[in-house]
Symmetry: C2
């Protein structure tokens, strides 16, 4: 009933929809592309939209005895070290759960007996189609880590309650990690 209501609110609404009139690829990289869209607004006027196109990613929220599994790494885009749940980029058309399981094992050596969708995050829907699927890992067992060449990560387990404090202090910003920590704090996973 609650979901029906939300689903109805998410149905296409002619009063709000922007129609794509034309789409030009402005830039093509290895990881993402940039498109320039001309759109028609509901009042028939025109505007333009700049959009980043990316295949998206998948991450894994692994919690054990009140602690969450994180990888410590350097992010040159942010110019700083981060603590993030294990995650990786999707190959085109790759199944997100397969990607999530692979990245978990590569980065941490953990093997999940079962993965269940926690939810998705679209980081910047105003200009970026990138989406990360977040899975909760159950029935964990420890295997051997095997990071990609050039991928340098450290694995740490930190108390969910400490991570909540760090989010409030602005120290933890990665969206998929913030979502995982808060979901654990809310007791919904």
């Amino acid at each position: 009933m609650a979901l029906d209501n939300i689903q109805k609110l998410l149905e296409p609404d002619e009063r709000l929809i922007e129609k794509v009139v034309s789409c030009d690829r402005e830039w093509q990289g290895k990881i993402f592309a940039v498109e320039h869209l001309k759109v028609e607004l509901p009042d028939k006027s025109h505007d333009m939209r700049e959009i980043v196109r990316h295949h998206g990613g998948a991450g894994v929220c692994a919690v054990r005895e009140g602690k969450i599994c994180l990888v410590r790494q350097y992010r040159v885009a942010l110019g700083r070290m981060t603590l993030e749940i294990p995650a990786g980029k999707l190959d085109p058309n790759e199944d997100p759960a397969t990607c999530a399981a692979r990245e978990l094992t590569e980065e941490t050596g953990l093997v999940a007996g079962r993965l269940e969708l926690l939810g998705n995050t679209a980081g910047a829907p105003g200009f970026n189609d990138e989406k990360t699927r977040i899975f909760v890992a159950y029935d964990l067992s420890q295997g051997e880590a095997c990071p990609d060449e050039g991928e340098l990560v450290d694995v740490v387990w930190l108390p969910v309650s400490d991570m909540v404090e760090a989010i409030r202090a602005g120290l933890i910003e990665d969206a998929k990690t913030v979502v995982s920590v808060l979901a654990a704090a809310a007791g919904i996973i």
Copy 2:
């Protein structure tokens, strides 16, 4: 003590840091730019990184009697309708709290007596520096909405518990909104 430990883990670590050797602007749009970075890895080998540069944004989490304030809009990047907390882009060097207060009032007519940082989200730190600062609104009063020209939004208040269900079902994906809903569900705001 807990924060000290996390702060220590976030200090620059020579074993993990990538040094920027060169940086070329590949594409410049109105909303974001694309840079091509050559980086030196800790083992002295080189690699390249494609990075989106964006000024970031600010959003507002307004909760009243167990319901969260959302704007219903169309996102051409995702090709669908979304429900998101009120938010907007930062002007260069703009104070995030000023931006958050302005967007809240423009989109919903709500005026916040006080804003407090909930946390930040970086949606895709692997290739995008975009960050959204999320504020919790307190002492709300209702004024008049005044959306930007061409900005078409509907305001709805939905139960936090229904939104949690919708996140689990993959219906709500916007990162700042997922974070706000889970923070409310966790009782930390």
